[in-house]
């Protein structure tokens, strides 16, 4: 394999337990988003658009659908003869097998992959954030600062800062002086995005030391970065300006979908910064003679005969006559039968809302219909899970 400047490692093994029923059968990065995409399309498309051609995807929890979705990587133009997508699940060795015990351990267990690719820099990403970002610019900043580590940071509202890992920086040059996980009295509002660029040798050393530390929880935020800070490493922040959303909860996933429906969406999924996603062989969607659609996004293969307002419809969704879908996210191939009503809800793949049934959530309590479930008219009402 030819010499590589930067390899990306996408952490895609998390269960996403806060997404509840939506991740019962699939890993969080495979959860549908924005009518056409899956969450992992965002980091993968960012990689390909940033010129990063070798991408390791570390999987663990319920990987079947995610693995089959990644395929050869051709969806993101990553089916290269000298690179592309590498699927990296945990594996057995001569001395036994281990699950990935933490974010750092996941990378540690794949140091042989990093050795094979032989990069100068390692970019660590999470597979559960919605954003468009040019990693090449972050890498340029990393090199300009002669940094050991660069951490992507994002300005959050002060009142939300206690929920994040907060980085306190030297105002002059952005060098990080302190890292506080969920501080009660934050000194800054710069939150870590979980995006790191490491010099490869530097990372290698710290991962190996951490691996032999039995008290460590093998996590970048909890162990690796604090250890590096302790040793006065050159750690810099790289401030990301733009839309960034952690879609780890039902509320935030719903909200991120709704953000796309604003008059001027906070970020465009229809720009030259392409977000690539698998393209199933489905026709343009069909809009019936009595349909009424406003402020919505609708994907191919859908059929709308009823009313859809302020909602996101994925591929192959059917909305029957007289049905009303409002303020909701409908995932692929769900069926909303005639006269059914869906409001403030996330309806997962292949589920059926029977004729005249109702699924009613409300702001702050989004209703969720799990994958493949059928909601009958009799058990209508609030379906919050």
């Amino acid at each position: 394999m030819s010499k590589t400047k930067c390899v990306a490692m996408i952490l895609a093994g998390g269960q996403g337990s806060r997404l509840g029923a939506l991740t019962k059968n699939i890993a969080k990065p495979a959860v549908p988003f924005g009518g056409k995409y899956r969450i992992i399309d965002f980091p993968l498309s960012n990689c390909t658009n940033s010129g990063i051609e070798k991408v390791g995807v570390l999987t663990q929890y319920r990987p079947l659908e995610l693995h089959s979705y990644l395929g050869t990587g051709d969806t993101w133009d990553l089916d290269k003869s000298d690179g592309g997508v590498f699927i990296l699940p945990p594996y057995a060795r001569d001395k036994g097998a281990d699950w990935y015990k933490g974010t750092a351990d996941a990378i540690y267990q794949n140091l042989n992959f990093i050795d094979m690719v032989d990069p100068e820099y390692v970019l660590v990403l999470s597979g559960d954030h919605i954003y468009t970002m040019d990693y090449a610019k972050m890498l340029a900043a990393h090199r300009a600062n002669k940094a050991d580590v660069t951490i992507g940071v994002f300005e959050v509202p002060w009142e939300e800062a206690p929920r994040f890992g907060i980085l306190n920086t030297d105002k002059k040059d952005g060098r990080i002086v302190e890292f506080e996980e969920k501080p009660s009295k934050p000194k800054s509002n710069l939150a870590s995005m979980g995006i790191y660029i490491f010099n490869r040798e530097f990372l290698d050393k710290y991962l190996k030391t951490d691996a032999s530390d039995e008290t460590s929880s093998h996590d970048f935020g909890k162990n690796i970065i604090p250890n590096m800070l302790k040793n006065q490493a050159r750690i810099f922040s790289y401030k990301f300006e733009g839309y960034w959303k952690d879609v780890g909860t039902i509320e935030s996933l719903w909200q991120a979908n709704m953000d796309l429906l604003q008059d001027e969406p906070p970020f465009s999924i229809n720009s030259s910064w392409n977000i690539y996603s698998a393209n199933p062989s489905l026709p343009p969607h069909f809009v019936g003679a009595d349909a009424d659609i406003s402020r919505s996004m609708i994907n191919e293969g859908s059929m709308v005969l009823g009313t859809v307002s302020h909602s996101v419809l994925s591929a192959g969704v059917k909305v029957g006559k007289g049905a009303k879908v409002t303020n909701s996210v409908i995932m692929p191939f769900a069926v909303i039968e005639d006269n059914a009503v869906v409001d403030h809800a996330i309806v997962a793949q292949n589920s059926v809302i029977s004729a005249s049934a109702q699924v009613l959530g409300e702001p702050g309590a989004i209703a969720v219909v799990p994958e493949g479930e059928t909601v009958e008219a009799a058990d209508s009402g609030q379906q919050v899970s």
Binding site: G34, N270, S281, V287, V308, G316
Partner: protein, 367 residues
Amino acid sequence: MGNMMGIIQLDGAKTMLKELSDRRPAAALPMAGRYRLMDFALSSMVNSGISHVGVLLSNKARPVFDHLRSGKDWDLARHREGLVYLPSDLDGHQVPTTLATIYHNLDYIKHSKADYVLLAQADTVYNIDFRPVLLFHQNTGADITMIYSRAKSDLPGDAVAMKIAGDGCVNDIAKQLTATKGSNDFLGIYLMARDTFVKIVSMAFERGGSDLLVDGIIRHMNDYSIYAYEHKGFVSRVNSTMAYFNANKEILNHEVWDELFMGDNPIHTKTKDAAPVQYKESARVTNSLVANGCEIYGEVENSVLFRGVKVAPGVKIRDCIIMEQCQIEENAMLRDVICDKNVIISADQWLKGSENYPLVVAKGTVI
């Protein structure tokens, strides 16, 4: 024994397609919001288990290459067989006939491992499973099987009508200038053993013939046993601008849409990475087909919007076919109009064709 090779013929009855086929063969006409006409024949072949397809190239090959590329989108990018281009080797300025192009590629076809050749003129909208056709062909012991459908209405333009006996045996074939309602309307699809195909093509071309049907088959009706297979599903032959307009509008019916696209055998096409359609607050869309990448502020009724069409506030579009990347600006009104790719209709322009004579706006025009 049932290995079929597909051959796609791109040219149709283009004389009546006017400016729509100026720079593309009939089979490359954009159709139903995201497809090109050839997708229907090609996908039907692939879905019927045919994994070796030759495409006879015409003189307007660029849109064909641009669309098919390696054949990957139809699962035809294979180590063995898969998609092959069959160009014409004729020198000079003369446009070669389809028969000549086949003849010049006959060596390739002879050396294929296929037992049968399925030749389809790809200017028709359908979704046909060819496996039952092969069974029919084997059961009747026919030399040639030709697929037809009953014309659902009079259709002006080149047509081939067939007289068929009760057992499916074809007694007479005639080229006509119009297909009359109820007639046995040939769909341009032949199935025959590879050796028969090679024989018919050689016989016809080597004796100065120019047309496979006339010189290869009609003149030798008594030498072959010819059977007709009726396709009972949806069919729309595109042999004129009006037929093109109607074919698109016929798909604006959710049963037809469902039959063609949503069954077990999907229609494949070149993939593009457009975002889902964005309907804004003021959008009003009814009875329409809308492809990804569109952004809609205005009103759209009984229309087909291809990928990436922008419909500005105050726009009214009715009974129109709007192809890829067109922009319809503020308060423009369009009725019975076909906009070819990349057309811009400026603000406040009103354009109207007629129900039986749509106005065609050529590719890239700014009005």
